[in-house]
């Protein structure tokens, strides 16, 4: 009846289930695989800490995405404050240099990523959460704190822009 093991197991189950999703979510926003990996890891560790300190009112999935989004916001802020040289030094690659990511990406995926770059951030978020992570509108509302209506509207607009980018 060791409670400690129970808790550990449950959390690791969540890792198995959601690590890919969280990684992808972050990756599409940052376009940097290494950094996305780091932030994915941070997300899980911070979620663990959060649960330890405050418990969790939401489902683990919501919580993970919330924390991931917060980390992304921090990341963007850092980017804004830094000059390009500093960025290069830290290894955070600005959107342009996709060529470093060629390792396991096929030609078509590369094109997809290039398109992703051009999408507005909020639209990126809408499309990845809805269609890649296959979250329901309700889950998305829970995670982002926005109304289901706003989210529906945003998804439609995102799809429109995506179509334009793909066909143009």
């Amino acid at each position: 009846m060791t409670n400690k093991n129970d808790i550990h197991q449950e959390f690791l189950k969540a890792y198995e289930a959601f690590s890919d999703g969280i990684f992808r979510h972050i990756y599409f926003r940052l376009m940097n695989r290494e950094r996305a990996l780091e932030l994915m890891q941070d997300t899980f560790m911070k979620t663990w800490d959060y649960i330890g300190k405050k418990g969790a009112k939401d489902t683990i999935k919501s919580l993970l995405y919330k924390i991931a989004n917060n980390l992304l916001i921090d990341e963007y802020r850092k980017k804004k404050e830094e000059s390009l040289e500093q960025l290069a030094e830290k290894g955070i690659v600005p959107k342009v240099a996709i060529s470093t990511e060629k390792i396991d990406i096929k030609m078509e995926s590369e094109k997809a990523l290039k398109v992703m770059e051009k999408l507005e951030d909020k639209y990126k978020e809408a499309i990845t959460m809805r269609y890649v992570e296959e979250m329901s509108i309700q889950e998305m509302a829970e995670t982002t704190g926005e109304s289901e209506n706003n989210i529906s509207v945003r998804i439609n607009r995102a799809l429109k822009q995506l179509k334009q980018l793909l066909n143009g």
Binding site: D20, F23, I51, G52, I60, A112
Partner: protein, 344 residues
Amino acid sequence: MDKTKQFISEMKKIRLTQNEKMSARTDIISHMEKNPIGNTASFWTRIAQIFIPTQHKKAFIAIYIIVLVFGGSTGTAFAAETSLPGDLLYPIKTNVNEEIRSRLTFSKQGQAEWEATRIQKRLGEIKELEQKGTISKDQIEKIKAKIEQQTEKAKEKIEALKSSGDSTNAEKIIEKLETSVKEHEKVLEKLNDENTSTQEIKETVHDLKVITFPKQAAENKLENANEKIEKIQNFIEKNHDKMPEESLKQAQEKLIEVQQKIEEGTAATTSEDFKSAFESFKEAHKMANEIKPEIKDEIKSEKDAQEIEKPQLKEQKPEDKKAIKPSPNNTSRNKFSEDDSEHK
């Protein structure tokens, strides 16, 4: 849309490599080990403020001392696991350990199952205390309050599971809970008296079924009521020569009333009002339950009258337990039947 679909399927292909996944996992695990939750003194201080109401200050202080002495080892959380109501660590078990587990379970099914398990744990605690022989009225009341709280939580999770489309598992969870209550029935009956109604504990759990699965609950209750009617009819047949004529008439009239109630319920079923149907069938069952003891009363008093050679029948009230020969079915039925107690 074709290009969009293709685009999205390309995006889905991007995932972690096995190595990446494993390596991150290892780092995360070591973080978890270094920052255990539920065990450190600072955690307990904070958690105590959130989870443990001020009435358990004694418990909090005791834990603080234990933690200081043992340095916040896993001992405390583990020790709490086997505690019973009245123990100092009991609130830790229910309000901290179990709560953490609740928060961490992420599937809807897992959550519903866990909350139901917590109710079963409470029932088990009653049994343990009873076996020890140390159970007090106070403790029963405490557990009863916890069960009511817990049932609210379970109801939420079970309804959530149902709405997410998984009625089957939701039903399974309820059935499991009902079985568990049946298993503890003997202990609950034993402890049932005027001051402590463990009957209400059974009611609370049964209510859960009505709220989450009103149709099934109504069907089950109809079955119960019909079974009862059959039994009574058999009983009357067997004993009608022993029964005074008035009593026979009364019993038959009552049976008609019961049948009317059942028809009410059946009508409600047709209009899909399962909650009302359940209530009607429950009423019918209750009314039916009163018939047999009344008859037995009359028969006994008939006998008594004949023995003492008094020409008049004594007026017996149905609540007059003492005149009835105790039988396993009968003892509790006069106060409450299984599904009988007053509605809140």
